[in-house]
Symmetry: C2
Subunit: 497 residues, 2 copies
């Protein structure tokens, strides 16, 4: 054991606690970078990862980042005890997985526990993700991972059945089905506590779009109250931390763009289980630029979801949809929210492609509950829009989430700087690239600026005349419009033939 003087570093590391020690002290005492030490004082102890500092610390000093000095409750200059400790047990199982052996249920449990307890370094987490990516995961492994992600996270406890849910694999611009599906389902008396994500690479996530109309960040308790009151919600999943282990895995998957299938499946199904979902519909869009490119990939994923959800007694159905071009007319948080309001208010500006898709999807989910005969769900869903029940329910949800239930589509004013994109020639639009549309919307300021985005007058399959407007770009600054112009010089969002 060593006694070192604390040096307070006024920064947090955001993950596993880190301490910094002097290089020659480390060398003399055989402590290496990335190894673990237990730091203790009279009243507390903590395990931290060692960083080596060449010059900045004296040999008798230890640099403590915020997580460490706060937990130890110590001040600059106090003396702490430092003892090297071994690696957590789960590093052995990570190594086992790297050696292509299947992990037992208990071993995955230990890994998830150590992730949640912040005992694993990023380097070890990456090794785990890499091993799952390269060696794959068996159904038993994925099932265990799902189970322990749920067990170690928060849970919504609604004490009701059935609980309905929906998940979309994503990658399609403007695809705002959740904000229509949830009110329809809740208007029929079902419970649907929907959590959604924010945008990562798209112009808007469902949470970003809903945020234009209401709050989306709630605690688990607040969420339970909202759902008990109005039957449904549309909130940001990140705020309620339903799956802490999953968030930490995603943190290292993101910079490597690594998405091991087993982990993706576990991540999705765990979030459904955490809200208590009993009946779930999966939307699998396929298209050149969607996440799923070929029908075979969608069919494969469908089978995997079926096996995994079956292990948890969850009823599920999947819908394979066309993800080749944007859905709806608005792209960007405010413009997509306006589309949803128009649609639910039966305004003729409500986008028909979105209505078609969402009623089909909702219909399948309704049929899955067994309360409606096969083939009748879509009509039920349409009826709930047409009789105004879905609109009324949506306003109840907005009010329950602290928004203005009197909001009208015309209250939503898009960005004041605009740019019209016109057809260069006459013909039919044979391609509308999701990726370029997303790029333009992001250059215009999405998702940080909710008023930014694109409004499409034409879409895939439409005929255009030369000089006819295809879409308008909205932004809140001229600089954003300049950025859009630069992109349009380099790439074309539409093909006219």
């Amino acid at each position: 054991m060593f006694k070192l003087r604390a040096r307070i570093i006024d920064l947090e590391t955001g993950s596993l606690p880190i301490v910094t020690i002097n290089e020659s002290f480390a060398k003399k005492n055989d402590i290496h970078g990335m190894e673990r030490v237990e730091i203790s004082c009279d009243h507390a102890k903590i395990v931290a990862v060692v960083n080596i500092s060449e010059k900045m610390l004296n040999e008798d000093e230890i640099g403590l980042f915020e997580e460490t000095w706060k937990k130890l409750k110590i001040k600059e200059g106090e003396i702490v005890n430092v003892v090297p400790v071994g690696k957590p047990e789960s590093t052995k199982y990570i190594r086992k997985k790297m050696d292509r052996e299947e992990l037992f249920d208990e071993e995955i449990k230990q890994i998830v526990k150590d992730i949640v307890d912040e005992k694993l370094t990023d380097v070890e987490l990456v090794a785990f993700v890499s091993s799952a990516y390269m060696n794959g995961m068996t159904l038993a492994e994925t099932t265990a991972l799902t189970k322990y992600i749920v067990e170690t996270g928060g849970k919504l406890n609604l004490k009701k059945k059935p609980i309905l849910d929906k998940h979309c694999i994503g990658g399609v611009a403007g695809n705002r089905t959740t904000m229509v599906l949830v009110p329809i389902v809740a208007s029929l008396g079902f419970t649907i506590p929907k959590t959604s994500s924010r945008s990562i690479t798209s112009p808007a996530g469902t949470a970003d779009t809903m945020e234009v109309l209401a709050n989306v960040s709630f605690s688990i308790e607040e969420l339970q109250d909202i759902v008990k009151k109005v039957g449904g919600c549309i909130v940001w999943g990140g705020a309620i931390n339903l799956a802490a282990a999953d968030d930490k895995l995603i943190k290292v998957r993101h910079p490597l763009s690594l998405d091991p299938e087993g982990m993706m499946l576990a991540s999705i199904v765990a979030k459904k289980l955490a809200v208590g979902a009993t009946h779930v519909i999966f939307d699998l869009p396929i298209g050149e630029e969607a996440k799923l490119k070929y029908i075979g990939e969608a069919r494969h994923l469908e089978r995997e979801f079926k096996s995994l959800t079956n292990n948890f007694g969850m009823k599920m159905d999947t819908v394979i949809t066309d993800g080749s071009s944007p859905i709806g007319r608005g792209i960007g948080p405010l413009l997509e929210a306006r589309d949803v309001l128009w649609l639910l208010r039966k305004d003729k500006k409500g986008p028909n492609d979105l209505k078609e898709k969402v009623t089909m999807l909702t219909g399948k989910l309704l049929e899955l509950t067994g309360k409606y005969a096969p083939g009748t769900g879509k009509t039920i869903a349409e009826k709930q829009i047409n009789n105004g029940a879905a609109y009324k329910k949506f306003m109840e949800i907005i009010e329950a989430q602290g928004g203005n239930p009197k909001i009208k589509p015309e209250d939503l004013i898009p960005g004041k700087y605009t740019l019209d994109y016109k057809a260069e020639k006459r013909g039919e639009i044979t391609n509308m690239k999701n990726s370029v549309i997303s790029k333009i919307a992001r250059a215009a300021g999405c998702p940080a600026t909710p008023e930014a985005g694109i409004y499409l007058y034409k879409n895939y399959g439409d005929n255009v005349k030369e000089g006819e407007k295809v879409f308008t770009v909205y932004a809140q600054s001229e600089r954003n419009i300049d950025n859009v112009v630069k992109i349009l010089k380099e790439m074309s969002p539409v093909t006219i033939e």
Copy 2:
């Protein structure tokens, strides 16, 4: 581009530059943790990895660690420009390797270049190491990795041929062959610029042991002068940074205990190429607790070394040796150095097992040059010890490395606190565990305290009487002796039958 106010953080990160930015600023501007940004001011720019800080920074601030503010030459409060930038090209190739595709020569070149230029994060480096571990490396990949590790590192330029070298796979306590082999070889007029490692998990590395007698840290230029003058050297490889890329790979391999075979081969052969070696002997000890456990593993490695060195026109031979128990009598830097001096001075205390092994090894290396007929090398090596030429050369090397050429074995005084380990019964020593011997020597204070260690009176195969001394432990503090006692209560270093 964003403009942020610099906040100086008086700590270095020791690797890729890191900057810290405010969480809500990051969210608004769609910058994620572990992504890269270019930071610039009037006179300099640098690429750094983003860390997200929840509370400690204002939205208009950026936290700069030492590497960053020093390179940018800026002070607290100055404004810097921040632009998100993409990942380096080599991340694509790392991903390709994870997808089980073979990498081209040019792709490995780019990876090594990006490693040396510190463009890759630890997370990306781990992904590369994991992929090599899990998917293996082809001979072409290993050859390319070796080539570019050498090209991007420093090189010894002795303008001479042949240049001899030796490598031992390791794992055997007390195995100090280098310090005998180098003087023999150099005394015959050959050039042998030997670089060695310090201890990582053993009681002493060759560099730690040589340091008892002379300096071991030199620049490349100093090393060239020493070798030109006396024909050989025994120095610490870490000080001359011959293979910068390799050091960075080892940094992430160590905490995971991951040793992908291709990377290990490349690492070893690159270090030989960096000193210009043309003839190399490989010592492959096998034993229950050595790095190689079975003869099959040694044979496999022998073939791999042969193929790889052949691609660089290097002549090589291997010797498979017994690594089941310690070699020599002293364990620990000072005690091992004393053994070597005794041996070269033809003192009867010189350990015979070390002499047998080293003359056999040296003989094979001498025969490899073609100057000596097969089967005659060992006799030549023995002659150089017996006629005092090797001892004389060793003193020349010690002097050239700034040590005292008049040093005698009796000047080397081991630790003043001792503990005798005695045989509990009469019989034959049928096992002497390297791992327990190493543990005891480290508990006694090795390698940080050179005077600490073990002196063996008996070894594997020897007969002992009840109560007879098997070994003495030396330490410089009573606390270290207490630690040894604790270990001896838990595990036994010898089996007597």
